[in-house]
């Protein structure tokens, strides 16, 4: 019993040969025997006819002789039968005998026509001997089969050769054809194998090229990310510098202007009431100056407000004021107070050099956006905010115990992570080379995790110095 799965194989030639062999044997035997047998049958048929004809002649002659010489006929019958035999010119008639109606041979002479040979097979045919329409015996003529047998055996040799030859042709011609077909198929398989090998080489080359291209693309992507990251860092640093400049320079100047304008307005108001020597202006002029100062003060206040708003848009000023940890802590405190939430903060202190302004802004704004979403949609009672600062990575997590939602089935809550609110943050996080992911399920709360690489424009972490420089 062969193990299952083991497949024994044979070649086409052997497969066909095994099935041709019985047919070939059959053909050889039939071809070899058919012609000799047919010859033997035809020859024996002819011999039977001749023997019967001879027997008829003998019966007629004996009948005539018996009637002419009832007693003496048989003493001269040998000559009579020899005469018949000679004139029938049938050499195959080996024996002629006369038998009584009881089947007993009538001895005609001491030298009858043809002595029986032991073991000799003869074709015996008979004819009735009639006298006065009475059958008194039978004349028998025996034809010898030796010639027919020898002829059949003689035919057997060439027809056996013919049968074997035909069998060999029928066996070997398809075999050779199969062998040729096998060679062609083998050649095709070899060509296919070579083609496969070539194809594999080509695929390997293309794969190598694609790998190189992919590596190049990845390198470019890394480079692009780096550039993007640097661009974001630079942008954020610039925004922080601009904001600081606006706050420190224009804001301070406008504040000074406003103070001066207040002083001018106060002086003008005093001058209008009583002409003082300090202004040297008439009350009317002082009043006019006072009103101008008031309108200018209004313009200065509006401008200051615009500057504050611009500074706020450019970057949370609180970051510059108190740093990331304190800003987030304050943000949590404010949200806790406003929304009646218990917010637990676990915040690592940044290194002395601080973080890049871009990283601080992203962390602050993600926290701000996440808390806003908690307050609006989560119906939570507790929020955990964790900020972990590793040497290479920053991890920020905001987790609530709210109702959560099915991110696949449920419509995305407006402003939810991944919604419009965090779209910008996601872009900035990704531009900085980081990731942001949201984990939520119905009844399981929501968790927003941001991971950012520690990137800076300068080695000491003061990116704004790079911008100023």
């Amino acid at each position: 019993m062969r193990p299952k799965g083991h497949v024994r194989t044979v070649s086409l030639r052997r497969y066909l040969g095994a099935r041709m062999l019985p047919l070939v044997v059959l053909l050889a035997v039939l071809v070899s025997l058919s012609a000799p047998l047919a010859y033997f049958a035809l020859t024996t048929g002819t011999l039977r006819t001749r023997a019967r004809a001879t027997a008829v002649q003998v019966a007629a002659a004996v009948s005539r002789e018996i009637q002419e010489r009832p007693v003496l006929w048989r003493y001269d019958a040998l000559k009579l039968l020899a005469h018949i035999r000679a004139y029938t010119e049938e050499p195959s008639i080996a024996r002629i005998e006369v038998a009584d109606r009881s089947g007993v041979r009538v001895p005609l002479d001491d030298e009858p026509i043809g002595e029986p040979t032991p073991g000799e097979s003869l074709l015996w045919e008979s004819a009735p001997i009639e006298i006065n329409e009475q059958v008194v015996g039978h004349a028998w003529a025996g034809a010898e089969l030796g010639q027919a047998r020898a002829g059949a055996l003689l035919l057997l040799i060439p027809f056996a050769a013919l049968g074997l030859g035909l069998a060999a042709l029928i066996h070997f011609i398809p075999g050779r054809a199969m062998a040729r077909a096998e060679r062609r198929i083998a050649a095709s398989q070899a060509a296919l194998a070579r083609f496969n090998q070539t194809l594999e080489q080509q695929v390997a080359e293309r794969s190598s090229q694609l790998t190189d291209a992919y590596a190049l693309l990845q390198a470019k992507e890394v480079r692009l990310r780096e550039l993007s990251s640097r661009a974001v860092l630079l942008q954020e640093a610039e925004r922080r510098v601009i904001a600081r400049e606006l706050h420190d320079s224009a804001g301070q100047a406008l504040t000074a202007i406003r103070i001066n304008l207040q002083i001018i307005a106060q002086l003008s108001e005093a001058g209008a009431r009583d002409m003082s020597a300090e202004t040297g202006l008439s009350p009317k002029a002082a009043d006019k100056v006072g009103r101008l100062a008031g309108r200018t003060l209004t313009i200065a206040d509006a401008t200051l407000e615009e500057i504050r708003r611009a500074v706020s848009l450019l970057g949370p000023a609180i970051l510059d004021d108190v740093g990331l940890v304190a800003a987030i802590q304050r943000l949590c405190d404010d949200f806790g107070e406003r929304s009646d939430l218990r917010i637990e903060c676990e915040l690592d202190e940044p290194p002395d050099a601080g973080l890049s302004p871009a990283l601080e802004s992203v962390c602050y704004r993600v926290t701000q956006e996440a808390l806003t979403n908690v307050a609006r949609h989560a119906q939570a009672s507790r929020v955990d905010v964790r900020l972990a600062l590793g040497p290479d990575k920053i991890r920020l997590e905001v987790r609530d115990n709210g109702r959560g939602f099915d991110p696949a089935a449920a419509p995305r809550p407006p402003g939810a992570p991944g919604g419009r609110g965090l779209v910008g943050m996601r872009e900035r996080v990704e531009l900085l080379g980081g990731t942001i992911r949201m984990t939520t399920a119905p009844g399981a709360g929501t968790s927003v995790v941001v991971e950012l690489p520690q990137v800076t424009l300068s080695e000491d972490g003061d990116d704004t110095a790079v911008v100023v420089a």
């Binding site: 497949v7 024994r8 070649s11 086409l12 497969y15 095994a18 099935r19 019985p22 047919l23 044997v25 059959l26 035997v29 039939l30 025997l33 047998l37 033997f40 049958a41 024996t44 048929g45 004996v62 010489r69 009832p70 007693v71 003496l72 048989r74 003493y75 001269d76 040998l78 000559k79 020899a82 005469h83 000679a86 006369v98 009584d100 109606r101 009881s102 089947g103 007993v104 041979r105 009538v106 002479d109 001491d110 000799e120 097979s121 003869l122 074709l123 015996w124 001997i129 006298i131 008194v136 015996g137 028998w140 034809a143 089969l145 047998r149 096998e182 198929i185 083998a186 398989q189 070899a190």
Partner: protein
């Protein structure tokens, strides 16, 4: 070829179909063998004879054992060579012995005569050749009564008058095919065992071989009786055959007897052996003849009969001292 495409032979049908194919072929071969054997057996006949060997029933018309023979009737049968002389002697005997009759049957040959005599179917048998050993063992009585020259007889149209023994051999061997005038020679041969052929072969040993070869090759026309021979010689131009001089003379047949090396067959030449071909005619009987057969034998040995023989070209036996 290792790289050759392979076929899985373990599919469910392959071994079964191959076995079925072999079984089918074996069935066809067995059927063919059976048919062949039946055919051969039916056609080939049998070594067994289709008749039995034994005593033929006495009432069989094919094997009557006796004829009615009154005491005053002598039944004589035998060789055709004896018949012309015996019939002439019988006629003379009946004329001299009123009340006695001799019936001379047609030829049954010397062999038939011996067996018929032994079977007591006839009173006297006529033989024209010496008895063979098997025949002599039967204990028959033999009465030679005439010697007749065996001649090379030809059709009257043959121009030649003499022939040599070598010519005779050449003619029977087919080496000579024409007479002296160029006319073709037609050889007439008697059946095997003929007494004339035997007489020539006794003197000319090569003749037996030549004669046998002619039989085997079917070279010449074979006639199986004296009657047929004399008719053929009479009417066939250029014909030649061995015949009895006495039959020619006694019956006045239109046949010519050739001399042998210039020596004519006569009582003197035969007695002196200068003419070598002759045969003796004899009666045979199963016991010492009595009655009418004994009278016939005495008559044949008498002077009138011997004169008849001499007149007819026969030499009476026993020879005159």
């Amino acid at each position: 070829m290792s790289a050759a495409p392979d076929i899985d032979p373990d599919d469910a049908e392959s071994p079964a179909s191959l076995a079925a194919l072999w079984i089918g072929v074996a069935v066809v071969l067995v059927a063919a063998a059976v048919i062949a054997v039946v055919l051969v057996v039916r056609l080939a006949g049998s070594a067994r004879e289709p008749f039995t060997r034994g005593e033929v029933p006495r009432d069989s018309p094919l094997h009557l054992r006796s004829t009615v023979r009154p005491p005053d009737v002598v039944h004589v049968a035998g060789s055709g060579s004896n018949l012309p002389l015996t019939r002439a002697l019988a006629e003379l005997f009946q004329a001299e012995h009123p009340g006695l009759h001799v019936v001379v049957f047609d030829s049954i040959g010397s062999t038939g005569a011996i067996h018929a005599t032994y079977d007591d179917v006839i009173d006297l048998g006529l033989v024209s050749r010496p008895l063979r050993d098997s025949e002599a063992a039967l204990g028959l009585f033999v009465y030679p009564y005439a010697r007749v020259p065996v001649v090379v007889a030809v059709n009257l149209g043959v121009p030649d008058d003499s022939i040599s023994p070598q010519d005779l051999l050449d003619i029977y061997a087919g080496r000579r095919a024409a007479w002296s005038d160029g006319s073709p020679i037609v050889v007439l041969q008697r059946e095997r065992g003929d007494s004339s052929h035997h007489a020539v072969a006794e003197v000319l040993p090569d003749f037996e071989a030549v004669n046998d070869a002619a039989y085997r090759e079917g070279r010449w026309r074979v006639v199986d009786s004296d009657q047929a021979m004399q008719e053929a010689l009479s009417v066939t131009g250029g014909a030649v055959g061995l015949f009895d001089l006495g039959a020619i003379v006694l019956q006045g047949l239109p046949i010519k007897a050739l001399q042998l090396d210039g020596i004519a067959p006569s009582e003197a030449s035969v007695q002196s052996r200068r003419y070598p071909f002759s045969k003796d005619l004899a009666f045979v009987s199963v016991e010492l003849p009595t009655g009418a057969p004994a009278e016939l034998l005495r008559f044949v040995d008498g002077e009138r009969a011997r004169r008849l023989m001499r007149r007819s070209g026969y030499i009476p036996l026993p020879e005159d001292q």
